[in-house]
């Protein structure tokens, strides 16, 4: 087995008496896409938020490589090498593609908050921005204002921003949401390329995409893990079938 980049153990999130997530353990290896699926309300988004630090855990531990990041704030997790995308696109709409990605690249540079000197002339930051834009295939759109692009391109831009922070582990929260067929298939191809040298945790509703991309799967229902393993194993798992047939007929087929 290759190196474990993310390991979460017995994660729990309580809201008053409600357990949104309970006893969830998951690990993601280098060069791997680990997909998390489950019916609506299963706790997938809460899990991503627990891993990224947007929501604090009630119990359990999160390790990024050798480092315990359980109690780190989101910005410190990002600097430690954890990148994430959001379900809703959260790019800076009035800036160009390049400006968006440069900002992300700047965040990860050693001089993220220098008080003086122009951002525009930092060649190291610019180079990292360029390479992230090229990796997602937006090189020809670099000087386009973000809000003028299609939804699919905006999602690509969001991924480029994540890449520019040079993450070891990437959390993707429904990257295909709202995409058409053509956009979705190019995004699937992109995600398939991204995993090399990194690790990806993917939450996605599109089962075709999940089974095309995932090296391993974790299935959640009602805040808990009901099955985990290879796509073939999960596909035929009785608990998975009943969870999906109970709520969302045929989605796992």
């Amino acid at each position: 087995m290759s190196e474990i980049l993310l390991k979460a153990t017995a994660l729990e999130k309580r809201y008053g008496g409600l357990k949104a997530v309970s006893g969830v353990s998951i690990d993601v290896h280098r060069d791997e896409v680990h997909a998390v699926i489950g019916p609506n309300g299963a706790g997938k988004s809460t899990l991503i938020n627990l891993l990224s630090g947007d929501v604090s855990v009630s119990a359990g531990a999160v390790m990024l490589g050798e480092r315990d990041i359980t109690n780190l704030a989101p910005d410190r997790r990002a600097r430690a090498g954890l990148g994430r995308s959001y379900q809703k696109t959260t790019i800076f709409q009035n800036s160009t593609v390049f400006e968006n990605v440069r900002l992300a690249a700047q965040a990860h540079g050693g001089q993220a908050l220098r008080l003086f000197g122009s951002v525009v002339r930092d060649s190291n930051v610019n180079a990292r921005a360029d390479s992230a834009i090229a990796e997602v295939g937006l090189a020809r759109r670099a000087s386009t204002i973000a809000k003028l692009m299609s939804h699919g391109e905006q999602r690509q831009l969001e991924i480029a921003m994540v890449l520019a922070t040079e993450p070891k582990l990437i959390l993707l929260d429904e990257p295909l949401a709202g995409m058409g067929q053509a956009e979705a298939s190019s995004m699937i191809a992109l995600i398939g390329r991204l995993k090399f040298g990194r690790a990806i945790l993917l939450v996605e509703h599109d089962m075709d995409a999940v089974f095309a991309l995932a090296d391993r799967l974790t299935v959640m229902a009602d805040g808990a893990v009901i099955a985990a393993g290879s796509p073939g194993h999960v596909r035929n798992h009785p608990a998975v079938r009943s969870a999906y047939l109970g709520h969302d007929h045929g989605a796992a087929a």
Binding site: T90, A107, A112, A146
Partner: protein
């Protein structure tokens, strides 16, 4: 995110600067003193806009920083002569910075309307500290009989008692402030600050330490307000608790909004316009405050982007509202209660 100055703007700035440099020669003494006062108010507006315009945080305690620096000059001025500027100015600014760091560290844990209320509360606390205790003469305030001395090795370098000299020192401070803010806004720091304003959650997930970023901006902004307050106190020779109160903070905010928040110099234009308007109305009408209020309301309705919008309209010939820099991309509101408060 930040537009570059157009040639027309550059010419306007050069012309304004030339006029300012010539003012003591061409205008009578009263107007030189008036212009000094207006420029110090302009500095105050510029300082506030770093937080309000670029940081997206409406502070209602900047008057307190202004007044506190003035009081510090008062405390440090001996009965027999002027305080040394080399000592009193750094002490005043560092005191303001320390107070701002404490107020900022506590109030920046809140957002939106709560931030406004918390800063207002801290500002009022400082007001009552000087109003209700005997510190600094209580509600009567205190006189500063001598202006600070700028001397090197015992010989006076500049004499601030001369109103022309004072004018040029104030002008230098104003130009320095504008250049400082321009540099900050264009630096990596400034870009990160604007990103946090537009989408805090995204800025955090990219790895920007938003709290530290805002705290630094808050303290820098407070110190510039303190610089203006120090020279204002020196100019008037008097400080009173009213300088720390929310009324001045609100007036500063009016200057910023009137001038326009999305540019570096907009608030300066707003400050000069407001002070100039007051001066004109005061000498002509008995109920000048009422008229002033109506004019401001009219201006805000006509020019929602501030007076800077007027300049933009003159240049492009269109009345389109300029991009106010509200670069908001579906801001994901941090869910109350579950969002991390440790930063």
């Amino acid at each position: 995110m930040i537009r570059s100055a157009t040639p027309v703007t550059m010419i306007a700035i050069a012309a304004a600067l030339a006029l300012a440099l010539a003012l003591p020669v061409i205008a009578p003494g009263y107007y030189v003193q008036f212009a000094s006062k207006a420029m110090l108010m302009g500095m105050l507006a510029l300082s506030l806009n770093l937080i309000v315009g670029f940081g997206g945080l409406v502070s209602l305690c900047h008057g307190a920083f202004f007044g506190l620096a003035g009081y510090m000059l008062g405390f440090l001025t001996p009965d027999s002569g002027g305080a040394s500027l080399w000592l009193s100015l750094p002490v005043a600014l560092l005191t303001v910075a320390a107070v701002a760091a404490i107020i900022g560290a506590l109030s920046l844990r809140t957002r939106g309307i709560y931030f406004i209320m918390v800063t207002l509360a801290f500002g009022e606390m400082l007001f009552y500290l000087f109003h209700d205790t005997r510190i600094g003469g209580g509600s009567d305030g205190m006189y500063i009989y001598f202006k600070p001395e700028i001397a090197i090795a015992g010989s006076a370098l500049l004499d601030l008692e001369k109103s022309n000299t004072f004018f040029y020192v104030a002008l230098a401070c104003l130009v320095g402030t504008a250049l400082l803010i321009r540099g900050l806004v264009r630096s990596p720091f400034g870009h990160a600050l604007v990103a946090a304003r537009d989408n805090e959650r995204r800025a955090l997930s990219l790895g920007f330490p938003v709290f530290r970023l805002r705290l630094a901006a808050f303290v820098i902004s407070a110190m510039i307000a303190g610089l203006a307050g120090y020279f204002s106190a020196a100019q008037f020779g008097f400080v009173a608790p009213q300088l720390l109160g929310w009324h001045l903070s609100a007036t500063m905010l009016v200057m910023v909004v009137l001038g326009g928040m999305s540019s570096i110099l907009g608030p300066l234009v707003g400050a000069l316009a407001l002070i100039g308007l007051e001066e004109v109305l005061k000498s002509s009408f008995e109920h000048w405050k009422l008229i002033k209020g109506l004019i401001i309301i009219g201006l805000v309705f006509a020019l929602p982007g501030g007076l800077q919008q007027l300049a933009a309209m003159l240049q492009t010939g269109s009345s389109q509202v300029p991009d106010l820099g509200a670069d908001v991309a579906e801001p994901v509101p941090a869910p109350a209660g579950e969002a991390r408060s440790h930063v």
